[in-house]
């Protein structure tokens, strides 16, 4: 028994915040699988971000939790991975200190949108242009994706609460 119940296999490609893992009681510590895994050294149960989106031991994940988990997992795969979501010109901007953070954010948003479409086909709608980022069509719930540092600003900007802003670690 690996502590995961019957949740299925462990997806070694995903890394999440160990504090969140512990809180949810769904992760087992693992040795880093690669350099990209060193962010958390924890792996996430595949079912957390796949399938019906149910937590191990019951309780449905909210749209915010799903987007937060997925975006953090995408960010944790490293810069080389995120470059795959950038055009040649955007990839160039990574070497400009003033533009790097903004460009990484763009890549994280695109990677998250793709991962959500892969794991939850048809459920989330992504708005790349101005305005809140994602719509969970099953709940009619809008979610903004931002870094922790941007969270207060985004809440003020859109007049929404913390439950409407999913955050990733830049």
């Amino acid at each position: 028994m690996n502590g995961l119940g019957n949740a299925g296999t462990v997806d070694r490609g995903y890394v999440v915040d160990p504090i969140l893992c512990t809180k949810l009681g769904i992760c087992t510590p693992q040795a880093p699988q690669s350099l990209g895994d060193t962010v958390g050294n924890y792996v996430l149960v595949a079912s957390l971000i796949t399938g019906a989106g149910e937590l191990v031991g019951g309780g449905e994940l909210t749209a915010k939790q799903i987007i937060e988990n997925v975006s953090r997992a995408e960010r944790a795969q490293g810069l080389q991975y995120l470059k795959g979501f950038l055009s040649p010109a955007e990839a160039r901007l990574l070497s400009n200190p003033k533009m790097a953070a903004l460009t990484i954010g763009k890549a994280v948003h695109r990677a998250t949108a793709r991962a959500l479409d892969r794991l939850y086909p048809g459920r989330f709608k992504y708005f790349e242009t101005r305005g809140m980022d994602f719509l969970d069509k099953t709940k009619n719930k809008l979610i903004e994706l931002a870094t922790e540092a941007q969270k207060a600003y985004k809440m003020r900007k859109y007049g929404v609460g913390p439950e409407d802003v999913a955050t990733y670690i830049p």
Partner: protein, 257 residues
């Protein structure tokens, strides 16, 4: 429902203001198809709605003159195939290509932005119009590797000669000799790029430090990385060099041609 928006994020940040507006979000017209095999079905003219397909096959279908909010050609973890379909006159802004496979499709007079074809395949397709901020991959990239049994994306016989490329790239082993590419001053096509880039670097390494030498070394980073990543021939757009002046790029390209 209403989606909070802001006309200008910079102003919003400076003033600390709340959202200045709302956009209506209507999902009632969104189309999402699962495991369907459709022949000669038309989605022409779809606007203000999203389109998605999961594990579908489309033959001779019409996707022309579409203006979808977003489009997922192959949603989920399964391939979706498009054979002899028309996408003519469509504008696709937020594109998720997924494991889509396009065979003998036409994309005439299209305007496509943000296409990252991590595991999509294109065979004998014809393109015209504009393609912006997009990348095609020769190998299956990222999370799709977990779902796709193959490692290589089939990419051959495509005609881009009448298309305008703005900041478009080919990465990870796409055989450019099997495609027809646009020509002109705005593009640079380097056959056997590794050899050319190495001798170019060698030349400037032997020179004393100068602004030009610094620009050359800055320029070389990306193409050298792409060669290391398996791309033998390189195709570059002049719009893809935001950190160098146009004069510097012109001079470097003249030397490389």
């Amino acid at each position: 429902m209403l989606r909070p928006t802001s006309p200008d994020e910079t102003i919003m940040f400076a003033t600390g203001a709340k959202s200045k507006g709302y956009a209506m979000v209507d999902t009632s017209r969104d189309i999402f198809l699962r495991h369907e095999h459709q022949v000669a079905v038309s989605y022409a003219g779809l606007r203000h709605a999203s389109f998605g397909a999961l594990g579908c096959t489309f033959e001779g279908c019409d996707f022309s003159n579409m203006r979808p909010d977003s489009i997922s050609f192959a949603s989920g973890r399964e391939p979706t195939q498009y054979r002899q379909c028309r996408f003519d006159g469509s504008r696709f802004k937020k594109v998720i290509a997924g494991q889509a496979r396009f065979e003998k499709c036409t994309f005439l007079d299209v305007d496509i932005r943000g296409l990252f074809a991590h595991s999509a395949e294109f065979i004998d397709c014809v393109f015209s119009g504009v393609l912006r901020t997009s990348v095609f991959f020769g190998r299956v990239f990222g999370n799709d590797q977990k779902d796709v049994p193959r490692t290589v994306n089939e990419f051959r016989g495509n005609d881009f000669s009448a298309m305008k490329f703005i900041d478009v790239g080919f990465r990870q082993g796409i055989d450019l000799s099997l495609q027809r590419l646009p020509e002109g001053d705005g593009y640079l096509y380097l056959r056997n790029a590794g050899q050319k880039l190495a001798s170019f670097r060698q030349k400037y390494t032997q020179q004393p430090p100068s602004k030009r030498r610094q620009e050359v070394f800055e320029f070389l980073k990306r193409p050298e990385e792409e060669v290391r990543d398996g791309q033998v021939d390189l195709f570059m757009c002049k719009d893809s060099e935001p950190l160098l002046s146009r004069d510097a790029v012109d001079a470097i390209w003249d030397e490389l041609r």
